[in-house]
């Protein structure tokens, strides 16, 4: 059999939400990662836990993008679609590349299942206009049953193994070894249920051998390892990386980590990951509501912990008043908002960047906070660390924006060493300053304007803070007009001064050209891929991507001035573009916006950029 070399491949595993597609996808991507491929993955699951079987609403998917270089995105369109039933085929047909390979369980192509998936005819392939694609129809369910005919497992458990058959086929096509999935199955099932472990192993091998023996595939494919920096790697998703970044900030500051939070899709994993880390002294309170989530954290911050809270858009709305309290009390706090489709409950499992204005301005009064964002699963660790560093060193709440696609997406991550991270120096006061007869809670550092953090339990430093306007020095309640103006100015200036602690804005590509692509947050990989493609074609396009939003970094104006056109691309109706129009009024901004619950595709970006270049 021929082996064809490929640079990168996108596989989408899809089936009923009970078919084990997330596990199948994860096992495939982990195997590819272990063999040195660049990886980016994205799970795509429905809100319903178990929607009716065989319906499009119940289709769960997992996309793996692997290649011989680091993968910037989970990929747009897929080369291979594994569909466990007609509904999975229907749900994903629009994501097929023109010459894609489709592997579909032949046993599922009965009249009833085809009708249940909403097809009008008995030929789903013709109906979808994909009849000439490379369609492989192994009878996965019956082959699984046949492979397990000697087991004493019940039928339901036998059928549950069919995802391993599909995995076996894929591992063969892409010349991957079985070692990793076999080890995983052993680790997961062998002790708990040896019979199930054995069944999964048998079916995995059966799928692999089926693909080898039947020659239904004209070729197998090989994707060479990526040229990744040497070192030790692990796979990590965005939410996990944020949780771990907070733990790192806690370690480097010497402040115990506290997270008060209320479960909400797609942010819950942050709370879950932190709840596991009692071994590192992390305290989590699963609060009674979103408000209590942030309020317990504010209390913990007052008590001297590094306090964080995690949420998604609707929860951020509920936290608004309390964020104002953190602003006026000038306590360190990190609020993570993993954005999802809105407004209101919106589309909880889909990605969007539409909370930016809420993050910047969604509080009563003059209430500035530091706002920053993550841009890939692996940079979540560093950004969470940075958010903690800024919050504690500048005594301010920080809002860290993530989004569904980053939170759930995973990438291989070169494991950093904590010795390479800076210490975080919180301005903790343990005794009165010279000349101070009682503690002045709002006395500030001349450089950063951060106030001091005197922790309850420290004798002689007793003080009162709260949500009422404070006297500039003593912190006592004040409604003096001039004092209020001074405090409003000072809080704004303190946040603005954070600019001196963040990196100068960078740009991918030349600093001059015809078009500057501007983005922020989790679209970084997609924008960069599109820009890369155009640059290879000789077009004068560069990419300027923002992680720091308030304050904006130094150097933005100089970059923007170098381009004939600027296009701001975001998964909302133009929130960052509006923000830039306020902060950098001298430039004209084109917009490219999408609010479909999905991130950009490289194809649509390239089309848009070409259009702008031709105008």
């Amino acid at each position: 059999m021929n082996v064809k070399e490929l640079n990168d491949v996108v596989i989408r595993f899809s089936g009923d939400s009970g078919d084990g597609m997330q596990l199948t996808g994860t096992l495939f991507s982990d195997t590819a990662a272990l063999l040195g491929n660049g990886i980016s993955t994205f799970p795509d699951y429905p809100s319903e836990i178990r929607a009716p079987q065989g319906t499009v609403a119940g289709v769960s998917g997992f996309q793996v993008h692997f290649g011989n270089s680091p993968m910037l995105t989970p990929g747009d369109y897929c080369d291979v679609l594994v569909a466990m039933n007609p509904a999975a085929l229907k749900a994903n047909a629009c994501w097929l590349k023109k010459d894609a390979t489709i592997i579909i369980d032949g046993d599922s192509l009965d009249e009833k299942s085809i009708a249940k998936a909403g097809f009008k005819t008995d030929n789903p392939f013709e109906e979808l206009g994909i009849a000439d694609y490379n369609i492989i129809i192994p009878n996965i369910t019956s082959l699984t049953k046949e492979a397990l005919k000697d087991t004493s497992l019940d039928l339901k458990s036998i059928v549950k193994c069919k995802n391993m058959f599909a995995l076996g086929i894929c591992l063969f096509i892409f010349n991957k070894e079985l070692d990793h999935p076999l080890e995983y199955i052993d680790a997961k099932f062998l002790k708990k249920n040896p019979l199930v472990a054995q069944a999964n192993v048998t079916v995995l091998k059966a799928g692999y051998n089926y693909a080898n023996n039947t020659h239904v595939f004209a070729h197998t494919y090989s994707v060479q390892p990526a040229d990744l920096p040497k070192g030790k790697y692990r796979s990590i998703n965005g939410n996990q990386a944020i949780a771990w970044g907070f733990i790192a900030a806690s370690e480097k500051s010497g402040r115990p980590l506290f997270c008060g939070s209320y479960p909400i899709t797609p942010a819950s994993v942050i709370l879950e990951e932190l709840a596991k880390r009692k071994d590192l002294g992390v305290k989590t309170v699963q609060a009674e509501d979103e408000i209590a989530g942030i309020c317990t954290s504010i209390g913990a911050a007052f008590a001297g912990n590094f306090a964080v809270t995690s949420t998604s858009g609707p929860g951020l709305s509920l936290k608004s008043e309390a964020m104002g309290l953190a602003v006026i009390a000038e306590l360190p706090l990190v609020v993570v908002d993993v954005q999802r489709g809105g407004p209101s409950t919106g589309i909880p499992t889909k990605t969007e960047q539409s909370d930016l204005k809420q993050a910047l301005w969604g509080r009563n009064g003059e209430c500035p906070m530091v706002v920053m964002s993550v841009s890939s699963p692996t940079d979540c660790f560093d950004m969470a660390f940075q958010a903690g560093k800024i919050a504690m060193e500048h005594m301010t709440p920080v809002l860290l924006l993530s989004e569904g696609s980053v939170a759930n997406g995973s990438q291989p991550w070169k494991i950093p060493a904590m010795k390479d991270y800076h210490e975080i120096k919180a301005p903790i006061a343990t005794s009165l300053d010279e000349g101070e007869s009682i503690f002045m809670p709002y006395k500030r550092d001349a450089e950063t304007l951060a106030r001091r953090w005197a922790l309850p339990g420290t004798e002689g430093m007793e003080h009162r803070i709260g949500g009422l306007e404070k006297d500039f020095l003593k912190g006592t309640v004040s409604s003096d007009p001039k004092n209020h103006q001074l405090m409003v100015n000072t809080r704004a200036e303190k946040v603005a001064k954070v600019v001196d602690s963040i990196p100068v804005q960078d740009v991918y590509g030349d600093r001059e050209g015809d078009l500057l692509v501007v983005g922020w947050g989790g679209t970084k990989g997609h924008l960069q891929m599109a820009v890369e493609q155009l640059r290879k074609e000789g077009k004068k396009v560069s990419h300027c991507h923002f992680n720091y939003i308030n304050p904006l970094p130094h150097g933005v104006k100089e970059i923007f001035a170098g381009f004939k056109k600027i296009v701001v691309c975001e998964l909302n109706m133009g929130q960052f573009a509006d923000y830039l129009r306020m902060s950098h009024q001298e430039f004209k901004y084109e917009q490219f916006n999408k609010v479909e619950g999905q991130t950009f595709t490289t194809v649509e970006l390239v089309d848009k950029f070409n259009e702008l270049l031709e105008d």
Binding site: Y233, L325, E459, E462, I465, T476, V477
Partner: protein, 341 residues
């Protein structure tokens, strides 16, 4: 460790107390300051270890008048913030000053969940049955039919009784006292401070401006109180009246007021208060007693020992740390499945 000798004055801040003249909150302030001094002298608890958290409302101005750490927060959230303070640092002695609006309306959820978790907080719930700071609207504890600015024809909603709410949620401590008896108030707050868990003291306070005399029918003066309230003390008979001649007996599932020496009732028939009984039914019934059918119960009604949240959090951390191989972030990052390139 007992070298400290605090008095009430040691807990007064330099801020002028701005409660209205005649407001019941003055009494609570004095009682809390006395309790802190007493508790401090007994346990060696210093100024710097006390934290007073409050929400919004007249009562919530409290922290400014106290020479302790203080956090005057936002409306309704005092119990949530205090939960964070106490969980973050269980060595602190955390008090909450809150009102009937703060903890039973806007912050009701945090209040019941703090009770459910049994967080080790000392909550003083100022109940004046009115919204004073917003100038006279009815509160969730206003009596049915109460005429206020927002109920010009009288309320048509049933009030909460904080004691029923707390004991109904199997809270571990509930006490009640009136503003005019600073001694009993201090006794209750000190008992709350000694309690390991969520301790709520309901202070029946008079809002002299917007709800003057709301508690007067049973608590107006010493003579009225003697006849219409009953002070419960653990291990003592449930007797009341100026001559201590009335008592409570159990009649089926209900309490009944009897006169000792009449209808064949003797002191032996009168119930003895057991504040430590875990089953909440009798405590609930005692807390539910309403004037004029019954005397209003004062004193420590319920005080039971159960695991508290902040201790359990610490215990779990110690247990996990004893066995986990992950001791630092580097261990964590290198745990689980990794590969080398």
């Amino acid at each position: 460790m007992n070298e400290i000798k605090y008095t009430q004055a040691d807990f007064k801040s330099d801020q002028e107390v701005k409660y209205c003249p005649g407001c019941g909150d003055h009494a609570v302030l004095a009682a809390v300051q006395r309790s802190m001094a007493e508790y401090g002298n007994k346990h060696g608890e210093k100024h710097g270890n006390y934290v007073l958290v409050s929400g919004i409302g007249c009562s919530s101005r409290f922290p400014y008048y106290m020479k302790t750490y203080g956090f005057h927060s936002i409306h309704g959230r005092a119990n949530a913030i205090a939960t964070g303070v106490k969980t973050a640092n269980p060595d602190l002695k955390v008090f909450v000053a809150t009102g009937d609006g703060d903890s039973l309306a806007i912050g009701g959820n945090h209040f019941i969940h703090a009770v459910r978790r049994n967080v080790n907080l000392n909550v003083v719930l100022f109940n004046n049955e009115i919204y004073g700071m917003t100038k006279g609207q009815y509160s969730p504890t206003s009596k049915l039919g109460k005429i206020t600015k927002t109920s010009p024809f009288g309320t048509v909603e049933k009030p909460f009784s904080p004691g029923e709410l707390i004991i109904g949620s199997r809270g571990t401590f509930f006490a009640r006292a009136v503003d005019q008896e600073v001694g009993l108030l201090t006794e209750c707050i000190t008992a709350a401070a000694e309690h390991k868990g969520m301790a709520v003291v309901e202070a029946l306070v008079n809002c002299v401006i917007f709800n003057n005399g709301t508690h007067a029918p049973y608590a107006g003066d010493k003579a009225t109180r003697a006849e219409n309230t009953i002070v419960l003390r653990h291990g003592e008979k449930m007797v009341f009246g100026a001559n201590k001649d009335k008592g409570l007996v159990l009649d089926g599932f209900k309490l009944k007021v009897v006169t000792i020496g009449q209808d064949g009732y003797t002191l032996d028939d009168v119930l003895t208060h057991d504040a430590h009984e875990k089953e909440p039914y009798l405590h609930y019934t005692l807390a539910s007693m309403k004037y004029p059918e019954y005397p209003v119960a004062l004193g420590v009604i319920r005080d039971v020992d159960e695991p508290n949240y902040d201790n359990e959090v610490e215990r779990q951390i110690e247990e996990v740390q004893a066995t986990s191989k992950i001791k630092c972030v580097d261990d964590l990052l290198n745990s689980g499945e990794t590969w080398t390139i």
